[in-house]
Symmetry: C2
Subunit: 202 residues, 2 copies
DNA sequence: AAATGAATTGACTCGGCGGTCAGAATTTCT
DNA sequence: AGAAATTCTGACCGCCGAGTCAATTCATTT
């Protein structure tokens, strides 16, 4: 009885510290790349010692993998909830582009890691990521293809256009700075317009 | 007299081996990131020992820096020769996009390194790269702005559109495979069309 | 053949980093 | 208070990779 409560409390605290460590790790990983960041760096950025990190995580790979998991969960959930709406093709694709761009700008660290440090994962993990990326792309491709079938988009191979969209949005992580110049929403809207106009059948 | 000939021959051979090492290094760097590649890896991929690499290069940083130098020279020369033509804005921007995309697909390794491993350089070197990237972007921005002034492009902040273009083209390095599916030229042309249509004033 | 200089080797150092572990400190429960 | 579980510490190990160096091999010249 008490055991359960205690167990839960323990897990809750552990979860909190874990998230704290993951956030700190992600920030550092994003700056200089996973390989260049030591467990000591992560720990001391939080005022901990290295051993604390090893108390909460099995090893460095697990820290990295959990970050990849968080990214996937957040992004795929966002996308799924857009797919569930019943928008017509152009609006659907627009919403997806907007969401993806906002996600990237909202968490620049994540994008840097997700697209740069994949090679640091084990080959099994990499396989999973490759599959997830394919699925993610597929959502965009489906939306685009629907537009082609509806006669509103030009008939370009969907992977070319989808890769272009993702590349364009991802790259914001390299230059966008919060709080100066345009807002993420404005930038995202520009990209939506460029792409939709660029794809529209004349 | 003879000395000169000999000297030249020596330099020529050295230059050859250096290029050989740089090419091998770039390939490996691109695959797994600079940090994950050892000098031994580079050497043995050519059948050499580590010491050979150290005979031709001062250290690992110099190998990396020379690669960055090669990239800059090749890309900026290509761009400059396009700027020298006297094309009207839309055609100019189109040619630039096409060239950049072709460069990326023609040397995927270079792009991976140039945009992912910058953090491995010294801070002085990084400053130079940042400056060069700004100059490179500036060429695109100027072309776009001309189009806006000529009334053919929509009035979007040029850095948004230029970053979008570069991001879109750069991302091909992550998915394009030589010899299956579309050719680099076809892909580049699609991007040119998407962007030009997307930016054209309605 | 001898001498000179270029190219190559392999053994070595040294520092750093991932990961471990025995125990100390702290918190929680009874 | 004392026992039990938990969190945290700091010293330690082993390995790996960057870079060095003295010595050797190879090529060229005279």
């Amino acid at each position: 009885m008490k055991l359960k409560v205690r167990e839960e409390l323990k897990l809750k605290k552990q979860a909190y510290v874990q998230e704290e460590i993951l956030t700190a790790a992600a920030t550092l990983f994003a700056e200089t790349g996973v390989r260049a960041v030591t467990i000591d760096d992560i720990a001391s950025s939080l005022g901990y010692t290295k051993s604390v990190v090893y108390y909460y995580f099995k090893n460095k790979n697990q820290v990295l993998w959990e970050i990849f998991e968080r990214i996937h969960e957040a992004w795929s959930q966002d996308m799924v909830s857009i797919m569930e709406t019943d928008l017509p093709p152009a609006e659907l694709l627009g919403a997806m582009i907007r969401q993806h761009a906002l996600n990237v700008m909202g968490r620049k660290a994540w994008t840097a890691i997700y697209f740069r440090d994949q090679a640091e994962l084990t080959s099994d993990q990499q396989k999973i990521i490759v599959k997830r990326k394919r699925e993610y792309d597929q959502l965009f491709k489906t939306a685009y293809t629907k537009g082609v079938e509806a006669g509103i988009f030009r008939d370009i191979p969907s992977h070319v256009i989808v890769s272009g969209i993702i590349g364009m949005a991802n790259f914001t992580h390299a230059w966008f700075k919060e709080g100066r110049g345009l807002s993420p929403e404005e930038i995202a809207n520009h990209y939506v317009e460029i792409i939709l106009n660029g794809c529209r059948k004349q």
